[in-house]
């Protein structure tokens, strides 16, 4: 190349330089410290940490609970997005705005509010307890909190795609003799699938790492309703930095994995959109 490619608009060096430095100092350097600290733990230490019943139970609850909560949110989110996009009814705009409340409400506030509702003497809890249903201070409480914080993701990722989904395709399917259910299962769901999975993955990522709303309602009973982030906090309080870092690294690894999955899903849904256009 005879000439160094010139940038037409100004500010490339300064904006990229600033963004990289900032990101490096705020995000990458600290994360490097995390992995470095975790590497201080030898193989034996890792094995002991990961095979400890309390660790296993906490990881199981965080990941399993998040999975169930994200599944629930996928179904509920599809329903809410569908109704908000397809139907016009009084109060629609209000409901649409309220979908974002779990994003806006601080997690600690959500945590104590959910506890007030589902505690054995709470608003709903007092009626559920005689039925043998215990939510707060039990694994079910963890689920409720995880569902709450992950709820908006599926709705918000699905809405724009549903809005652009061509009604003609559905009508064509119906004119070809498909029933409503067939149309839904064979035409609509496949078109929404990549987006639905993206929303699911976002809700999952959020629920796995959730702390504030869960710890109030969970009761934090070791081996039963104790989540992984709480275990990290406890290890920190006992000055077990290597243990905390190791658990943190496990969670970070999962976050990165989900991030890659979401990026791949978005590329997939992007292709869908292109094909549809």
């Amino acid at each position: 190349m005879a000439r160094q490619r010139r940038r037409v608009l100004p500010g490339f060096g300064i904006s990229l330089g600033y963004a990289l430095t900032y990101l490096g100092l705020i995000v990458l350097l600290p994360l490097a410290a995390l992995v470095w600290k975790a590497s201080a733990l030898d193989v034996d230490g890792w094995l002991r940490l990961l095979s400890a019943p309390r660790t296993l139970a906490a990881l199981k609850l965080s990941f399993g609970g998040a999975l169930i909560a994200a599944l629930f949110n996928a179904v509920a989110g599809l329903l809410v997005a569908w109704v908000l996009v397809r139907y016009r009814f009084p109060g629609r705009r209000l409901i649409d705005a309220l979908v974002d409340l779990p994003f806006a409400l601080p997690t600690a506030v959500a945590g104590i509010a959910l506890t007030a509702i589902y505690a054995p003497n709470g608003w709903l809890g007092q009626y559920l307890l005689p039925l043998g249903i215990k939510i707060a201070y039990a694994p079910a409480g963890v689920l409720v909190a995880m569902i709450f914080v992950g709820f908006p993701y599926v709705v918000r990722t699905l809405q724009p795609v549903l809005e652009t989904l061509d009604r003609d395709v559905e009508e064509a399917a119906e004119s070809l003799g498909a029933t409503r259910l067939q149309t839904f299962v064979r035409v609509i769901v496949p078109a929404l699938l990549p987006t639905l999975l993206t929303g699911f993955a976002l809700a999952l990522a959020r629920a796995v790492g959730e702390y504030g709303s869960v710890i109030f309602i969970a009761g934090n009973i070791p081996l039963r309703s104790e989540i992984a982030p709480l275990l990290i906090v406890q290890k920190l309080e006992q000055f077990d930095y290597a243990g905390a870092a190791a658990l943190g690294t496990v969670m970070l690894g999962f976050s990165l994995l989900l991030l890659v999955a979401i990026a791949l899903l978005q590329r997939w849904s992007g292709r869908w959109a292109e094909r549809g256009a």
Binding site: M1, A2, R3, R5, R6, V8
Partner: protein, 371 residues
């Protein structure tokens, strides 16, 4: 101000947007860059504006290296295809933008700016819309705001990217004539990019036809239309019938009829390609005239001109011939009728063994009507 572009190359990720482009732009001329999308015409325009840079080659303006000059100092007015008007500013503020941002020393006074903006808005016939926001304007009005904004800084060179591309057909024609008049009034050197040949041929002093990053031909609209220099120009500009020709024994034949002596030296046997415009096909009912036997398949009446679709078995293809509608009526031509067609003017190119046409060996044939 003469602009001298020489040997410009520009590649994007393995794709040659400009491939050795050289061009001289004369002061005061109105030049059209015409070509299909991806032919490199917009890249060339953006290089002139300072919004892109060639990998190699030079752009000189009266012996000044224009590539060393930043976009903001080039004194080039650019009208973007989608206008790129500042949406948060009114029409007047858009036009005044280039003046208001000048450093205090060279900035005209507020009154002068207002006066100049008003004059420009009057010139583009928008004098009562100065207070509007650009979102409240029609496409044609936005186009003229963009033009006024570019003219406000008194550029040496006016560049227009697909100036009529986003407008509907009626506005397009009106604005075209208006722009031509404006150019003549201002005497400004102007270059515009278009994929619409009608636009280029009607508006420009000279047209550069571009294809795959190269300039295929540059010349006046008449020259481009009457003497297309390459097979691409033949096919891109106007309508042309593409006829396979054979070279043998010093004679050029097409559809088993001799069309003339083989104009090219060298190998005696080979093939060539000939282009005949519909208006250069002579259609007669008398077989004695000579030419290809044809059957009239269909007549498409388009106002004063009629397009005749003729099936020519000797060529194994359908030719299109033009004739005035009056003549069709006078001669009582009917679909299904047997006719004779004869080409009066053929632009021919020899083909090499790989079937590629040699544009440099272009030859124009004028077959004589057989007695």
């Amino acid at each position: 101000m003469t602009l001298e572009l020489s040997h410009l190359h520009r590649r994007y990720a393995g794709f040659a947007a400009l491939d050795d482009v050289s061009l001289r732009i004369e002061p005061g001329e109105f030049l059209a860059l015409l070509g299909p999308s991806g032919s490199g015409k917009t890249t060339l325009l953006r290089i002139l504006a300072g919004l892109d840079y060639p990998d190699s080659g030079s752009v000189r303006q009266n012996d000044r290296d224009l590539l060393a000059v930043d976009a903001r100092q080039r004194k080039v007015g650019l009208v973007f295809q989608h206008y790129a008007l500042f949406r948060h500013l009114t029409v007047s503020e858009n036009v005044a933008f280039g003046l208001r941002i000048r450093p205090r020393k060279s900035r005209p006074s507020r009154a002068e700016i207002n006066e100049r903006v008003e004059r420009l808005l009057k010139r583009v016939q928008l004098d009562d819309l100065g207070k509007r926001y650009t979102s409240q304007l029609s496409g044609g009005q936005r186009q003229r705001v963009a033009l006024a904004r570019a003219l406000a800084v008194e550029p040496d060179l006016l560049l227009l990217d697909e100036p009529f591309g986003a407008l509907d057909a009626q506005v397009r024609v009106a604005l075209r004539r208006w722009l031509r008049n404006l150019h003549e009034e201002l005497g400004l050197t102007s270059v515009f990019v278009t994929h619409d040949q009608e636009e280029a041929l009607e508006l420009a002093d000279r047209v550069a036809v571009m294809n795959r990053g190269r300039i295929e031909q540059i010349g006046t609209p008449e020259a481009i239309y009457q003497q297309p220099a390459t097979p691409f120009v033949c096919e891109f500009i106007g309508k042309n019938n593409r006829i396979p020709l054979q070279r043998a024994n010093g004679v050029l034949t097409g559809g088993q009829r001799q069309l003339g002596a083989d104009p090219w030296p060298g190998n005696a046997v080979g093939s060539a390609i000939g282009y005949v415009r519909p208006e250069h096909l002579l259609v007669s009912s008398a077989p004695s005239q000579g030419g290809w036997a044809a059957q009239l398949r269909h007549i498409y009446l388009a106002g004063g001109v009629a397009h005749l679709e003729l099936d020519v078995p000797a060529l194994g293809q359908v030719l299109e011939a033009d004739m005035s509608s009056d003549e069709v009526a006078q001669r009582g031509l009917q679909p299904g009728q047997a006719l004779v067609v004869q080409p009066r003017l053929i632009t021919a190119f020899p083909l090499n063994a790989q079937g590629e046409a040699d544009a440099a060996a272009r030859h124009v044939l004028q077959p004589q009507a057989a007695p």
